[in-house]
C-alpha cells in the first residue's frame, strides 16, 4: 500500500493540472476574501459595493479573527467544483490514457490501488486547504498591520475544526468526481455533469423545493451541496448575512458532518466496487 501511495503522490506532484487547479482555488479565495472587500473598504462608502455596509464591518471580515471564514467560505461551491475536477481528471485520466491496464498489471490488487489513489487525493486536498489557509492568514495579517486592526486569531480548536471541515467538503466533491470518472471511464463527461450539478442544479432544486414543493424539503436537505454549505456554516459560525453563496444553515453542523462522511463512504465504495468487478478493455 505504501508503494502504491508513493506512486500516486508522484503522479499528482508532477501533474501541472493539479497545481493549476490549486492556483485557481487560491486566487479565487484571495480575490473574493480579500482583494474585492479591501478595494471596497479602501474606496469608501461611495462605492456601490459597500453601499449599506459600514467600512468597519468590511475590515473586520478581513482580519485574522475571520481567517477561517475566508479560507473555507468558497469551498461548498467554487473550490468544491475545482476539487470535483481534480477527482475526475486523476481517476478519469487512467481510462483516457489507458494507463489503468498498465497499473493494474503490476503487483497490487485493484482495491489497494484505488485506496492509494484516494489517500493521495486526500493528501493533495489537505495541501490545498493548508496552502489557501496560509495565503489567507498572510493577507489578513497584512491588512491588520496596514489598517491597525486586531491581530487576534481564532482558537486552535476553531482553526483545526474549520480546516478539517473544509477538507471534508473538498474531499467529498473530489470523491464525487472520482466516482463519476469511474462510472463514465472518461474525464470530460464527469466534469461537465459534476460542475453543472454543483453550480446550477442543486441551487435550482433547493429554490424549487422551497418555493413550490415545501413538502420535499427533506430531499433538498440530503443533497451534498446543501450539507457542504451547512457544515461550513457550522464550523465557521458566521452570521447568515455574511455567508457567501452556498453557505447556509439548512441543517445542523453535526448532521451535515455525518451526511458528508456518508457521501464520502458511498462514493469510495461505489468506485471500488465498480473498479474491482469491471473488465478493463
Amino acid at each position: 500500500m505504501l508503494g502504491s501511495y508513493r506512486a500516486e503522490i508522484l503522479k499528482l506532484r508532477k501533474r501541472s493540472a493539479v497545481w493549476v487547479l490549486f492556483g485557481a482555488g487560491l486566487v479565487l479565495s484571495l480575490i473574493f476574501g480579500y482583494l474585492l472587500p479591501y478595494l471596497g473598504y479602501a474606496t469608501g462608502d461611495d462605492n456601490p459595493q459597500t453601499d449599506g455596509v459600514p467600512r468597519a464591518e468590511i475590515l473586520r471580515g478581513m482580519l485574522p479573527a475571520r481567517v477561517i471564514d475566508n479560507t473555507i467560505g468558497g469551498y461548498p461551491i467554487f473550490a468544491g467544483a475545482l476539487a470535483l475536477v481534480l477527482g475526475a481528471i486523476v481517476i478519469g485520466g487512467e481510462y483516457t490514457w489507458g494507463t489503468l491496464k498498465t497499473v493494474l498489471t503490476q503487483r497490487p490488487r485493484r482495491g489497494t490501488i484505488l485506496g492509494a489513489q484516494f489517500l493521495a487525493l486526500g493528501t493533495m486536498i489537505a495541501l490545498w486547504v493548508l496552502g489557501i489557509f496560509a495565503a489567507c492568514a498572510l493577507c489578513s495579517l497584512g491588512i491588520a498591520a496596514a489598517e491597525n486592526g486586531s491581530t487576534t486569531w481564532p482558537g486552535i480548536g476553531d482553526l483545526l475544526q474549520g480546516l478539517a471541515g473544509g477538507w471534508l467538503v473538498l474531499m467529498m466533491w473530489c470523491l464525487a468526481g472520482a466516482v463519476l470518472a469511474v462510472a463514465f471511464r472518461n474525464v470530460a463527461l464527469p466534469i461537465g455533469l459534476g460542475v453543472v450539478w454543483i453550480l446550477g442544479i442543486e441551487t435550482l432544486l433547493a429554490g424549487v423545493v422551497s418555493s413550490l414543493l415545501p413538502s420535499l424539503k427533506w430531499l433538498a436537505n440530503v443533497l451534498p451541496g446543501t450539507n457542504a454549505g451547512s457544515l461550513v456554516f457550522g464550523v465557521t459560525g458566521m452570521a447568515a448575512a455574511d455567508a457567501p453563496p452556498g453557505v447556509r444553515d439548512a441543517v445542523g453542523g453535526s448532521r451535515a458532518l455525518l451526511t458528508l462522511l456518508a457521501y464520502c463512504a458511498l462514493f469510495a465504495v461505489l468506485a471500488t466496487w465498480t473498479t474491482r468487478r469491471r473488465d478493463v478493455t
Partner: protein, 309 residues
C-alpha cells in the same frame, strides 16, 4: 511422447488455458481456446486483427474475466498479486502518463511493484532508452514508446513475459532489435508469450506457435512441425514441359513465374539433371521451406470453409 510425458509437460506449463470463452453481449470474442505455454519457450500467438489475441492476453493478465473455461498462469489465478508479481506484460499499445518522463513512468511502476531503482537503470539500458529517459513520454516516437513498454514489462525481472504485438510501429532496425531482444529473453530462460499478426516475425523468433482465427484456436505446434515438407523452387523454360517432368517427383504448383515441387531437397541434383537432359533451360533451382504465411492461410481458410459447410 506418451500420455504420461504429455501430462508432466502440462503440469509444468506456465500458462495453461482450457476451453476459454469470452462473450461481450452477443459477440463471442474468444471461443473455447486451449493454449499451453511451457517454461523457457518463446510462444507465438498468431492471428489476424480481431481474432481474439488481445482478449486472451487480457484474460491472462487479469484485466478481464473469462465467461467460461479454466485459466492458470504460473500456477495461480490471473490477476492474483503473486502471479502479477512474476509476470511482465505489455498489452496492446504501451500506455503511460504523457506528462511524466520515461524514467518517472518506470519509477512509479517500480513503486507499485516493489522493484529497486537499480533495476530501472538496467531495463532502460536493455531497451536503449537511457539517453532519452528524462524526456517526457509525450515526446517519444512510436518506437520509443514501444521500447518503454517492453522496459516496463521487464521491470519486475519476470519469469513470464507477455507481449502484445511488440514490434508495432517500429522501423526495420527497431524491429530487428526488438526481435533480438525477445529471442535473448528466451535464451535467458524466461518464458515469452508473444502475440503478432506478422507471420514472418513469429517464424523468426518463436519456438511454438498457436494460430487463432475468429476466436478459435486452429493449430498449436512447433514452428518446424507446422512448416512440414520442404519444396524445391524451379525456374525453367519452357515451363509447361518442366511442369510435366517435375510431376514425376511430386506435386507441382505454379507460384508467380516459378514452379514449386514437393520433393526431398536432397534430390535437387537429380531434378536438375532430368530437366537439363530433356533440353529444358534451368535458370533457378533452390530449396524453399513452406512459409508460415502459406500454412496460416491454409489453416484459416480450411476452418472458414468447414464452418461455412
Amino acid at each position: 511422447m506418451g500420455a504420461c510425458g504429455r501430462h508432466s509437460r502440462r503440469m509444468d506449463a506456465l500458462v495453461e488455458v482450457s476451453g476459454l470463452t469470452k462473450r461481450y453481449g452477443g459477440t463471442l470474442a474468444v471461443d473455447g481456446v486451449d493454449l499451453t505455454v511451457l517454461p523457457g519457450e518463446v510462444y507465438g500467438f498468431l492471428g489476424p486483427n480481431g481474432a481474439g489475441k488481445t482478449t486472451t492476453l487480457r484474460i491472462l493478465t487479469g484485466l478481464i474475466a473469462p465467461t467460461s473455461g479454466s485459466v492458470r498462469v504460473l500456477g495461480g489465478r490471473p490477476g492474483d498479486a503473486g502471479v502479477l508479481g512474476r509476470t511482465g506484460s505489455m498489452i496492446e499499445s504501451p500506455a503511460f502518463y504523457p506528462y511524466l518522463s520515461g524514467l518517472d513512468n518506470l519509477r512509479l511502476l517500480a513503486e507499485y511493484a516493489g522493484v529497486s531503482r537499480q533495476r530501472i537503470d538496467e531495463v532502460l539500458e536493455l531497451v536503449d532508452l537511457t539517453d532519452r529517459a528524462k524526456d517526457r513520454f509525450s515526446t517519444y516516437s512510436l518506437g520509443m514508446k514501444q521500447r518503454l513498454g517492453v522496459a516496463a514489462a521487464l521491470l519486475k525481472d519476470p519469469e513470464l513475459v507477455i507481449l502484445d504485438e511488440p514490434t508495432n510501429g517500429l522501423d526495420p532496425a527497431g524491429m530487428r532489435d526488438m526481435r533480438r531482444l525477445i529471442r535473448e529473453l528466451g535464451t535467458e530462460g524466461r518464458t515469452v508469450l508473444l502475440s503478432s499478426h506478422l507471420l514472418g516475425e513469429v517464424q523468426q523468433i518463436c519456438d511454438r506457435v498457436g494460430i487463432i482465427n475468429a476466436g478459435r484456436m486452429v493449430a498449436e505446434h512447433h514452428v518446424e512441425e507446422l512448416r512440414g515438407e520442404q519444396e524445391l523452387v524451379v525456374r525453367a523454360a519452357p515451363r509447361e514441359d518442366a511442369q510435366r517432368l517435375l510431376a514425376r517427383f511430386g506435386s507441382v504448383h505454379q507460384y508467380d513465374d516459378t514452379l514449386r515441387v514437393q520433393v526431398d531437397p536432397a534430390k535437387a541434383a537429380e531434378v536438375n539433371r532430368t530437366l537439363v537432359e530433356a533440353g529444358i533451360d534451368v535458370s533457378e533451382l533452390h530449396t524453399a521451406e513452406r512459409a508460415l504465411e502459406d500454412i496460416f492461410f491454409e489453416l484459416t481458410t480450411a476452418k472458414e470453409t468447414t464452418d461455412a459447410g
